[in-house]
Symmetry: C2
Subunit: 154 residues, 2 copies
Amino acid sequence: MNDFMRLAIESARQGVRDNDGGPFGACLVRGGEMVIVEHNTVLRDQDPTAHAEVNAIRAACRKLGTFSLGDCELYTTAEPCPMCLAAIYWSRLARVHIGVSRDVAAQFGFDDARFYIELRLPLEERAIPFTKDAMREECHDVFRYWKNLNRPLY
Amino acid sequence: MNDFMRLAIESARQGVRDNDGGPFGACLVRGGEMVIVEHNTVLRDQDPTAHAEVNAIRAACRKLGTFSLGDCELYTTAEPCPMCLAAIYWSRLARVHIGVSRDVAAQFGFDDARFYIELRLPLEERAIPFTKDAMREECHDVFRYWKNLNRPLY
């Protein structure tokens, strides 16, 4: 187990050294074998979604030819932010091993813990203004169209 | 305003027609001009993170050459799931316009609302098992390394 976390840590350090992004690494494992190891590349890729966990999930799906990782585990050097946590749920990972908590990331200035609080708030109390019910009926119709075509859930 | 939501809806319908993924579209706007319109491509790209909002944010950042969209607004046909919502925070969007709520997505079988509940739970009560404090000190050291190199926050 520590071998996989060690790979995640090494990748995180390499990412910091190369100024690819924040100090975060993740290693994705299937059946006791490493599938992929990634780190945060927000700066390198100019992509705010390029966190270590999202990068690992995306790369593993490409490599394994699936969008569902139900037989995989993830080792991540820090507690996933809400974006990465929900990506973990969408990809149906079986288990997640975490290094430090969201509080450590917060101590170093990252917004993960703050965003967890924002996500609990009703739309009208959030830091970013949200408008709802814009063309609601037309948006609802797209769901009905999808349902009528009998498209798959995922 | 409705013009941008209409573009998002058309893209969502096109995505359903082509079986690219779920019935979701998003249009990203800067200074009253459309930057990009995207839809959910989870099935087409075999990528569980390829939701409409994430696709729009990533494509807009590529197009504008930045990882920060503080002067942009997003029109999305359905309330963002927690992954997309946190991506909206990370990309610092100025405003978000939503079509239908998470409850409509839930009625059609999507897990967005359920994942909002999961994200509030302590690690030990979640549907996916989480192990914490794996090599915590070594993970913490990566943050110190990052701090010592005076790397930027984002």
